[in-house]
Every structure is written in C-alpha cells, then in structure tokens.
C-alpha cells in the first residue's frame, strides 16, 4: 500500500524535525512528547513538604500572546521567557494568535493542561474574559503583559507587565511637539489593533498646535507600505513628521522618505532593532521608543516562579512598567550589543 508508506514517511519526517528544533530545556525526547502538565499542585501553590527548588523543577508556565508567529517584537518576548525558564529551571511554553477567538482557545488549552501559571497579552480583554476567568477559577495565577493593563485587575490577574499604550503615545507626541512639528503621519500597520490606535491618539493629544493624521498600511506587505507612505508624503508637502509603530514599518518609512525625496521629514518610531539603531546613528530616525519586550517575557516567569515557590506577589496592584524608554543618538551604541543577542 502506497498510502501507508507515505503516512509512515511523513510521520517519521515530522518526528525527526522535532528532535532538531525543540529549543526547550525540558527533557522532551525525540518523540516530541511533552509531559502533559506537571502534577497539578492545586490552587494553594506547592505542597508543604516539597522544597521550593524541587517544586520549581516541575513547574510549567504558559504564555499566550495576541501575535501571529514570526513577529519580531514577540520573538524577543519569547526569548526573554525562554531565558527566564532556563535561569529558573522551569518549563515555559509560548503560543500566539492574532485572532481573539483562537487566542481564547489557546488559553483554554493551557488551563486544561493545568499549567502552574499563565501569561497573557490582552489586545482585546473582553474577548478573553471568560477564558481568563476560567483560569483564575481553576487556581492558576495569571499575569497580563504588553496590552490590556486597565482590565488586568478586573479579570483577576495578579499583575500587569508592560507599558501603557496611551502613555507611550503621549511621550512620543510631547517629544515631537518639542521639535516643533506641525503635521505628523501616524502609520497604523495592523487594521483593527486597538493598542496602535491608542498610541496615535496619545500622540495626537500631545501635539498641540499641530495635527496627527492616521495612515493605514499592512505590516505583512512592507513593499506596498513603503509606496503608500511615499505617495502620502509626495501628495502633501505640509507633512513634516511621521510616527511608525513597529520596527519593520519604520524601515519602510525610511525608504519611503528617500523615495519621496523628502529628507526634511522627521521620523520617529516605536520598537527597535539593529537597522533602527543604524538609522538613529545615521540621523535618519529621530528617536525610537523602546518598551523592552525582553522584560515582558522574562519578568512574568520570574514573578510566577516567586509566587509558586515563595508566595510573593509583585506590583502592589499597579502595573509593572517596562517602558517607554527613549533610544536616540545618545544611547544607540549601548543598545546595539543586546539587539544582536535577540534580547532587545
């Protein structure tokens, strides 16, 4: 039978590729069989007779983000999470989906696996409410990250780790206003992402005496994003500034400014990478706002581990802020080193 052979061959392939790519420090064998969650420790944390160190060995923390795979920013979050897992000797998992229903379903999966802690980014808190509450009811400590700070406590999360979008947007707006800009493009790269809209609204509120106009592009098609931005710059000579909300789009905006031959346009961006730093050093980008995604992966694992082994909580009911930090010509050198390690 041809089909049976094909089946076996395909399975063998999948199995083989597993051996090569399992980055986790977990003792998952070549079969890819992960233990289905640790022995449930229940809602009260670890049992009295197990030492914290021993307990930490079997802890599993799951991160469920609102980003699709392959996102630069979230890859750094994932690196932070995995490093914290290695440093503390706990097992960590990462999943993500840009579709709120799929994200809710991924949270349900983590809850059914009885993980010891849950880390969730909430671009759309209301959509995740039932799933997160189910986790809280099951006695799983939840930490929210990146977005959804204002709903975090309401949903029963322990704390929130991230930067609030509005505050970051306002910080960008103030700095652009100081430079005396009058007409700024705010480039939104994901239709329907609420956090991005908030950043633009924040910038708008601080650019007194000037106006901020939103421009819609797609982060998954940077070539057309470049031409859209260029077209906009060519069509309106009064535009003197642009604010991009993601590092990849910032690269597109740099190209667009060159294409449109408008070198006087001041460009600022959210998020950083190596290219952004070079552009800052070269004076093509005025500043970048860094919310230090690495921390948004690393800290929650640390906090959950402390809670599980020591019963302590962090934040005192307030969010733990990881940003906004400004990167400009003054400190670009310093950041460069860490970027290459996938840690910034």
């Amino acid at each position: 039978m041809l089909t049976t052979k094909t089946l076996f061959a395909m399975f063998a392939m999948v199995q083989l590729s597993l051996v090569g790519c399992s980055k986790e420090s977990s003792p998952a064998g070549g079969s890819g069989a992960a233990s289905t969650g640790p022995s449930a420790t229940g809602a009260t944390g670890t049992t009295a007779e197990s030492t914290p160190a021993k307990a930490a060995k079997n802890l599993t923390f799951a991160l469920v983000s609102h980003a699709n795979a392959g996102d630069k920013f979230w890859d750094v979050v994932k690196n932070g999470e995995e490093q914290a897992g290695k440093d503390l000797g706990v097992k960590v998992t990462y999943q993500g989906s840009g579709d709120p229903q799929k994200q809710a379903q991924l949270i349900d999966v983590a809850v059914s696996q009885k993980v010891d802690g849950l880390i969730v980014s909430m671009a759309n808190p209301e959509a995740l409410r039932p799933s997160i509450q189910k986790a809280v009811q099951a006695g799983i400590p939840v930490i929210t990250i990146n977005s959804g700070a204002e709903k975090s406590a309401d949903l029963g999360a322990m704390t929130h780790v991230g930067q609030t979008e509005k505050v970051a947007g306002e910080a960008a707006g103030s700095r652009l206003a100081k430079k005396g800009l009058k007409h700024v493009l705010c480039v939104i790269h994901e239709a329907g992402n609420v956090g991005l809209e908030e950043r633009c609204a924040g910038a708008k509120s601080k650019l007194e005496g000037g106006k901020v106009v939103n421009l819609q592009v797609s982060v998954s098609d940077l070539a057309s994003a470049t031409s859209t931005i260029a077209a906009k710059l060519q069509s309106d000579p009064s535009i003197d500034g642009a604010l991009t909300l993601n590092n990849a789009v910032a690269g597109a905006a740099v190209n667009a400014i060159a294409q449109a031959n408008r070198p006087t346009v001041t460009l600022a961006t959210f998020d950083v990478d190596a290219t952004i730093l070079q552009n800052i050093s070269a004076g093509k980008i005025f500043f970048a706002i860094d919310q230090q995604p690495y921390l948004q992966g690393y800290l929650p694992v640390t906090f959950l581990n402390l809670y599980r082994t020591n019963g302590t909580t962090v934040g005192g009911g307030q969010p733990v802020l990881t940003g906004p930090g400004f990167i400009d010509k003054a400190n670009a050198e310093l950041v460069q080193k860490y970027i290459q390690q996938g840690a910034r």
Binding site: T3, L7, S26, T36, A69, Q101, K102, V109, A191
Partner: protein
Amino acid sequence: MTTTAARRDERVVDVGIARRLLARPELGAIIGAVIIFVFFASQSEVFRAPAGIANWLDPASTLGIMAIAVALLMIGGEFDLSSGVMTGTVGLTIGLLSSHYGLNLWLAIFASLGLALGIGFLNGYVTTRTGLPSFIITLGTFLMLQGLNLGVTKALTNTVLIEGIGRTQGYPLAQQLFASTVSIAGAEFRITILWWIAVTVLATYVLLRTRQGNWIFAVGGDARSARNVGVPAAKTKIALFMTTSGSAWLVGTMVALRLTTVQANQGIGDELIYIVAAVIGGCLLTGGFGSAVGASLGALIFGMTSQGIVYVGWDSDWFKFFLGAMLLLAVLANHGVRHYAEQGRK
C-alpha cells in the same frame, strides 16, 4: 457476493462492498481523522480527556459549519473567497446596530442576516451573469468587505473595536442559543458543536436525498449539460452563494456573541482554511464531487491538529509547518484511497 450467479450479464462487473465504500468521498477523511486522533491521543493525556476533547471540538465546530457551506459551493463548481471576512462583516454589523446604536440585539442579528444574504446574492448574481470565475468576483468582494469593515467601523465609532455586545437588550437569550456551553463529563462543550452537527445532517440530507442536491452535483459537474436537461443552473449557484453567506452569518453571530467584542480585522484569511477543510473532506477543486460529512471531518482534522500541536508541546515557531504537514498528510491519504477505489472500477 460470491460469483455463483449462473447466467449473469457479463457486462456487469462485480464491485465488492469494500470498494464501494472506498469510492465515497469522505472515506479518506475518516481514515485521516482516526490517524490524527490516535496520534495526538497517544502523545497527550489531556488531548483525550473530556476537557481536551471540548477544546479541540471548539475550533472544529465553527470551522465545520463554514466548511460544509463552502463544500456545497465547491461541489457546485464555485468558490467564495469572501466567506471569511464576511463573518467579520456580520459581527461588526451586529455590534454597530446593537451596542453602538442601541437597537435590540435580535433586530441587529436579523438585520445582519439580511445583509449577509444580500452580499451572497450579489456574489452569485454577478458570477452567473458575467460567467467570470467566482474566484475573481469573490476576491473583489473580499477586498471590498475588508475595507468596509475597517472604514465604516472607524468612521462611525472612531475605533476599530466594537465592545459591549454583552450589555445589549436581548443578549441572554441569544447567548444561550449561539454562544453558551453545555457541561458534559465535567468539561464545558460549546453549543456551536450542536449547531455543527445539525448543519452536517441538514446539508447531507439536501445533497443526497433531494432534487436540489442533484442540481448541485449537476451544475458542478457540467453546467452546460445540466442547463440542457432543465436544471436551473443560475438559481442553484446563487442559492449556493447565499448558503455560504448565510453560514458566515451564523458563525459571525456565534463569534460576536461569544467574545462580546468584534475587531475590524476579524475573519480575514479564514476563507482558505474553509476551502482546505472541504478539500480534505474529499471535495474536488474542479467541482461536481464532494460531501458535507467529509467537510465536517476536514474541519475536525483541522481542529484536532491545531490544538493537538499545542497539547504535545511542540515549539510554536514550527506550528504552521506541522499544521501544513498534517493537512498534506490527510489530503494524501484521501487521494491514495480514492485512487485505489477508482482502479477497482476499471
């Protein structure tokens, strides 16, 4: 059957029961589903526990409803690329009318049904009138709806997210009907699974037991011959497009009521998944062949795979690769089975 019939017509080839079974479009999907289930169930304890089963039936159910409608349309020889984004259009319409403008939720739900059926009618009408490939026509619809979803939402509400559907008049009953859960064996199974089963039964009945079902196979197999023997080809195709958009209304309503919020980018990209599920279930891209049960099984395979990968704890960077490999595997199994079955008929 043994060949004891003495004076049998030599032109009648005896086809064994096994071969006849193999010729069913959904058989490959059944085999695929069993293999995928056994594989993940053996790898993960939670996957086969009630809580796990409830988890993978959840995405399978909404996908299944759409996959069945898309399968019918594909049997009828057409595609609908606007089906995914239509779920978003429906959800946004419900959100705008009920939560933003304060209409009763049921009114909003029926208004959005009218809108969805209207869009489906337009898709079908333009396709049948122009004779252009529906692939192109519905791609246009897809892009227009994507723009409308964002543009209208933004213009009317100044945001890209409509919240507060859970606080509208009429929500409790609608939530019971479209978005509640049923507790079985200590796990929360979603009501959408029941809808999915009902849609599967209904579609199978229509396909195999009614005149309209024959028309669907006929227009997909050969539209001209079908027309020549008196099948209302244009009407059948328009009805199929309306069935697809009607299903998008059902699923869009389910999602909107479950999440109580709707994002302007909802549903984009899902249309290909519907088609994949239908193809795993034995639909041919050329039309005229396929089944509703098969499409349901395709959705089941997709649901099991997408959640199963998470259960066994494989690195999420590779998620899409595994998903693709599993789907390819299912299609290959299907293809092999059909090939084997057809050899028997020669």
